[in-house]
């Protein structure tokens, strides 16, 4: 009887110690893990940017511009029409470029190809490029997110 009593007391102490140890580990690990996750930096939502003047872009060329903190691509078709897309490849985040020889938007990382409407036509990209709206006001070109 006394023996049983003792062993249950010992078990109880072991549990207390065990949980204490577990708590100690968690209280050490939790702040470290939270420290590793970077704090969210609030960024101003960019809706529209001024890219440049019409005369800066020759027909049949593509130019990368800053859209907030992501790259965008402005393409001037041979017809003189402007089109703009997000330059972030929908595959693995690389920055795309305009290929004059292919008359297409091309990603060098994995050979992904989009047509001039931003549709993924060959290679690994799973989705079309996000399209932006181009507004030409007088001489100046503005690019804005739809909606």
């Amino acid at each position: 009887m006394v023996q049983e009593h003792r062993s249950s007391r010992r078990n109880f102490l072991n549990y207390i110690l065990g949980f204490g140890f577990l708590g100690w580990i968690i209280s050490v690990l939790y702040p470290i893990i939270r420290y590793i996750i970077p704090p969210k930096i609030p960024e101003a939502k960019v809706k529209s940017v001024k890219v440049g003047k019409v005369g800066d872009f020759n027909p049949g060329t593509g130019t990368i511009f800053k859209f907030g903190n992501k790259p965008g691509i402005l393409i001037r078709l041979e017809t003189g029409e402007f089109r703009a897309f997000s330059a972030v490849c929908t595959h693995l985040d690389c920055t795309v470029q305009y290929r004059e020889d292919m008359k297409a938007i091309w990603c060098a990382c994995h050979n992904g190809v989009y047509d001039l409407n931003g549709r993924n036509i060959s290679g690994p990209p799973p989705r079309p490029l996000e399209a932006f709206r181009v507004i030409v006001r007088g001489d100046e070109i503005y690019v804005s997110k739809e909606g």
């Binding site: 790259p71 690389c94 920055t95 795309v96 690994p124």
Partner: protein
């Protein structure tokens, strides 16, 4: 003089009992057979790691991490600092040769079945060292902050994002934010010069300790030979001297490579420039990269990238656990399946690497 040496030895022996250790080392021997050449690649990997530590510390004297200083400081090292180009080139070349030596070491251990009982944990620690070496390579690649490294890191880390549920969060932890920025650079720097060296050194110590305790593995067929047919050479000095000679040759190869093929620094990374044509990861990631390239966007409802990552992870774990599921070799039977699997893996890696170079 001899007397002084003896007194010094006795002084230490009295306190630390080093006589037993010296005795143990002097009786260490290495089997001599037609596969003995493979015994040297572990030592070669170790030597190249030592070179990495030394040149890495030297580079640290001038390297300044940061979006506005990383590229500039490496440029300073290779153009202004005396022999800076040499130190940096050796660090890059030695990193590549080390990965190569580690791969050769691993495959030779695999095919000679040296992982079998009682050396299971030597194999497992060795595999962990390989993974750490690859992480070293991946994190170090970004540090010069050039165009190629920038996009390689973007792609390499983006793959983490394809993991369901935790992928996004994990990606932010690895990158230190949503994009590859100066924050990523700081993180990789810390990983490369502090976290990895610490973990690597501990596991390397355990790995070497296991090898010292158990001695060199003998091939299964050789083990069955009558004792008079098995030849051994003493570790000290015979094997060690051969080791040193090989290390000297490696050092010469390194010097020649570093002088005649200095490592390019390339253009500074620009987050607002398109990815350059011909972009490729380092050769030791190329077989994985090429596989991902060939996978369709969706495999059975799973995203192609994640499917690839899943396959490589499962294959890697199975590879690490080979001593535990290869029960035939342990019992002294021939296990041809192991050879076929090894050959398949080797041929797959080589083919995909060649494809990676040829198709771009």
């Amino acid at each position: 003089m001899a007397k002084f040496g003896e007194r010094l030895f006795n002084w230490f022996d009295e306190r630390y009992k080093i006589r037993g250790f010296i005795e143990f080392m002097s009786h260490k021997s290495v089997p001599q057979h037609r596969h003995s050449i493979w015994y040297y690649f572990g030592g070669v990997s170790l030597f190249l790691f030592i070179i990495q530590v030394v040149t890495g510390i030297l580079l640290l004297l001038y390297y300044r991490v940061g979006e506005d200083s990383s590229y500039e400081s490496v440029q300073f090292i290779v153009s202004k600092v005396k022999f800076g180009w040499l130190i940096r080139s050796i660090h890059s070349w030695s990193a590549n040769l080390m990965i190569l030596a580690v791969f050769i070491h691993m495959f030779s251990v695999y095919f000679t079945k040296a992982y079998r009982k009682p050396r299971e944990l030597t194999w497992v620690t060795g595999f962990l060292l390989l993974i750490l070496s690859l992480t070293f390579g991946f994190s170090g690649y970004l540090l010069p902050w050039n165009e190629l490294a920038f996009f390689a890191t973007k792609v390499g880390t983006e793959i983490i994002g394809s993991i369901p549920v935790i992928g996004k969060e994990l990606l932010i932890i690895v990158r230190g934010g949503e994009d590859v920025t100066g924050a990523t650079l700081s993180r990789f720097f810390g990983l490369h010069v502090a976290i990895l060296p610490g973990i690597f050194t501990v596991i390397l110590f355990i790995h070497l300790l296991f090898v010292q305790i158990q001695g060199m593995s003998e091939p299964p067929e050789w083990e069955k030979l009558p004792p008079e047919k098995r030849k051994y050479i003493p570790f000290f000095p015979n094997f060690l001297l051969r080791d040193l000679l090989l290390w000297l040759i490696i050092l010469n190869i390194l010097a020649v490579l570093a002088v005649f093929f200095p490592w390019d620094l390339g253009k500074k990374a620009d987050p607002f420039a398109p990815a350059p044509a011909g972009i490729k990861p380092e050769w030791y990631f190329l077989f994985m990269y090429q596989t991902l390239k060939l996978l369709p966007p969706k495999v059975l409802f799973i995203e192609g990238e994640f499917f690839g990552v899943l396959i490589f992870t499962v294959a890697g774990i199975l590879w690490m656990l080979v001593p535990f599921w290869d029960v035939k070799t342990e019992k002294g039977y021939r296990n041809r399946l192991i050879n076929y699997i090894g050959l398949f893996v080797l041929i797959y890696m080589i083919t995909m690497t060649i494809l990676g170079y040829a198709l771009s």
